[in-house]
């Protein structure tokens, strides 16, 4: 069998540029698949990283306008302590946390910036829940515990020279809304830019500097039974509507379940996947036709050679083997080339996307199984494309093949 490979390989070696061009389709198809899947996983990680706050047992209640954008701009009815009490009546709540999320004016080293600030709840349980929910890890310094006032911790982008020209070290003072705060910790870089670009401070401090009386930006509810989460969302909606005297569809608040958010992400990812798959499939089809075409040509050009091989004792299946191996090798070459190009393309894209957006969210996840699978797939396409021409070659009658 090895000898048949050598023979087929030898034939390929002597082929002209023209027949190599026909594997361009395989090349492009595999490159597209490899690039997009490698990037796709990075993309998925980047997106799900953004939504890492969403876990299957958590509901998020906001006033309708806020969503994920900065609240406080529009004159919408804010959530209040009263809403918190209404929600607490719903059965099956394990934890409930209320939080503030605002943009503040921050000054450091005579430089001014507007930065998101989020509150750390005043009770120990709530504070811990926040650290856990956002997977917050302190890299330098220490955590901001519940009830600690006059201190803040910073997201990694705030502390690095990305936000202020001068890096902020633990122990420095930063002026927020004209009041001095001591930086006692810096968070570890996270997959979510919301976490990287935040200042965390005590709830009371935040109310104080922003002059907030009875307002809540986000209420997060952790449920004890995650299978009931949809029912509970409905129940909370019903209770809030009742309290506010609103009809269904007229709510000025929203209850977001993880399923809703995740399914939206999944829809986007699926559409991307579909487009990618489509492009790849078309390229691979063209690639297959390309290989079939060059194999047909090759059979025509090498009629005589086939005749000679038969004259010296080659059986039909020997000829078939040689030609099928040859077209499989064509696929292999296309596959390896495509995989390498695809991988380089993925790295190039992630590099330029990351430097353009100044993040490192877009990671390439090179997977050996993906590479192996796509190369195998290319080989299979090559073989399938070569089957008919090879069969044709093997069936040539020796006398006919020898007649030039």
């Amino acid at each position: 069998m090895k000898d048949y490979f050598l023979l087929a390989f030898n034939n390929l070696k002597h082929r002209g540029l023209r027949s190599w061009l026909t594997i361009l389709g395989i090349f492009i198809g595999i490159a597209a698949v490899v690039a997009l899947i490698s990037l796709g996983q990075g993309l998925k990680e980047a997106i799900t990283g953004q939504f890492s706050t969403l876990s299957a047992d958590r509901l998020v209640i906001t006033s309708a306008e806020t969503g994920f954008g900065p609240p406080g701009s529009t004159a919408v009815k804010k959530l209040t302590e009263r809403d918190l009490d209404v929600i607490k009546e719903v059965q099956g709540i394990e934890k409930i946390i209320s939080r503030l999320l605002r943009v503040v004016k921050a000054e450091y080293n005579n430089e001014l910036n507007f930065i998101f600030t989020a509150s750390i709840p005043n009770n120990k349980e709530g504070a811990e829940a926040v650290y856990e929910a956002f997977n917050l890890k302190v890299e330098k310094g220490k955590k901001l515990e519940a009830g600690v006032k006059g201190k803040v911790i910073l997201g990694s982008d705030i502390a690095s020279s990305n936000t202020f020209d001068k890096k902020i070290e633990v122990g420095k003072q930063i002026k927020i809304q004209d009041k001095d705060f001591e930086v006692i910790g810096i968070l570890k870089k996270s997959g979510s830019f919301q976490v990287n670009q935040v200042i965390l401070m005590n709830e009371e401090d935040m109310k104080d500097i922003l002059n907030i009386k009875d307002e809540i930006d986000i209420i997060a509810v952790q449920v004890s039974d995650k299978d009931r989460i949809e029912d509970m969302a409905e129940e909370i909606k019903r209770k809030l509507r009742q309290d506010r005297n609103q009809k269904e569809g007229e709510e000025d608040f929203s209850v977001q379940t993880p399923v809703q958010a995740l399914s939206a992400i999944n829809t986007i990812l699926n559409i991307i996947n579909l487009i990618v798959t489509g492009i790849a499939a078309i390229s691979l089809l063209i690639g297959g036709i390309g290989i079939a075409n060059t194999m047909f040509t090759s059979v025509l050009e090498r009629r005589k050679e086939i005749g000679i091989m038969k004259a010296v004792g080659a059986k039909n299946k020997d000829v078939l083997k040689i030609f099928v191996i040859e077209s499989g090798l064509l696929g292999l070459v296309g596959g390896i080339g495509g995989a390498l190009i695809g991988l380089s393309l993925a790295y190039l894209t992630s590099f330029s996307a990351n430097s353009a957006l100044n993040t490192d969210l877009f990671k390439v996840s090179p997977s050996v199984p993906l590479l192996v699978a796509s190369i195998l797939f290319a080989i299979i396409i090559g073989i399938i494309a070569g089957l008919i021409p090879s069969y044709q070659a093997s069936k040539l009658k020796p006398v006919d093949a020898l007649r030039q």
């Binding site: 000898d3 030898n10 002597h14 010296v312 080659a314």
Partner: protein, 237 residues
């Protein structure tokens, strides 16, 4: 009476060309003895190549039977025919028919490959055969780097690869000048002296008379005459 190696019995090869039938061979019966050196002669289109191809199991007769080593090969499958071609027959063609992408040595190794012989043995056998045809210093050359005469000697080496009982040569000197042609014939003679049966199609009457032991003359697809050599003289049977 020595042993018979090839027997054609009422062999016809008829090509249907639309309405008309072309009788390339018609009712040909021939017996060829082991160790004979046969020349097939006749005008162009008389069916010489057709006959040779049938004997070489490259083609099947329309009618009649062909026996090789008393085995009827006229109804075998392509795979069985390939087996016979590989093991019992060596071909030499007018156009040499070497595979251009393979070196001289690789060309000679090719028939051995299809018999499943391992590489080491193939190589040593090919080297031995190229030695025999005095091409030991051209082993790694590609056909287009060889002269016509050298190519034909490679083809002879290839034909000998599997130690065939019969060598079939269709105008082996047709593309060569007299001198190189003479050399090719020398090799065929040597083989014949060692016992290999040789059947050669040729136009060249002098060549046939000088080297062959039996001459078959074809005309319009039929056997016109058989001539046997006794010493230096020829006798029509």
């Amino acid at each position: 009476m020595s042993e018979q190696i090839i027997k054609l019995k009422d062999v016809c090869k008829i090509y249907q060309m639309g309405e008309t039938e072309v009788k390339a061979l018609y009712n040909v019966s021939i017996d060829i003895e082991k160790g004979d050196f046969v020349a097939i002669m006749g005008p162009s289109g008389s069916g010489k190549s057709t006959g040779l191809n049938l004997v070489g199991s490259l083609d099947l007769p329309t009618l009649g039977n062909i026996y090789l080593d008393s085995q009827d090969i006229s109804h075998l499958t392509e795979s069985e025919l390939a087996q016979i071609r590989g093991q019992k027959i060596g071909f030499i063609f007018q156009q040499f028919n070497l595979i251009p992408n393979l070196t001289a040595k690789e060309n000679v190794m090719l028939p051995l490959l299809f018999q499943g012989i391992d590489k080491e043995e193939r190589e040593s056998r090919a080297e031995e055969l190229l030695n025999l045809v005095e091409l030991q210093d051209r082993m790694e050359h590609y056909p287009n780097q060889l002269s016509g005469g050298q190519q034909q000697r490679v083809a002879i080496a290839r034909a000998l690869a599997n130690n065939p009982e019969v060598i079939l040569a269709d105008e082996p000197t047709g593309n060569l000048d007299t001198k190189t042609g003479e050399k090719v014939l020398e090799f065929l003679n040597k083989l014949n002296e060692k016992g290999t049966t040789i059947i050669m199609v040729t136009h060249d009457q002098d060549l046939a008379k000088e080297h062959a032991k039996t001459i078959y003359s074809l005309k319009d697809g039929s056997l016109e005459g058989v001539y046997k050599r006794t010493g230096k003289s020829w006798k029509k049977l």
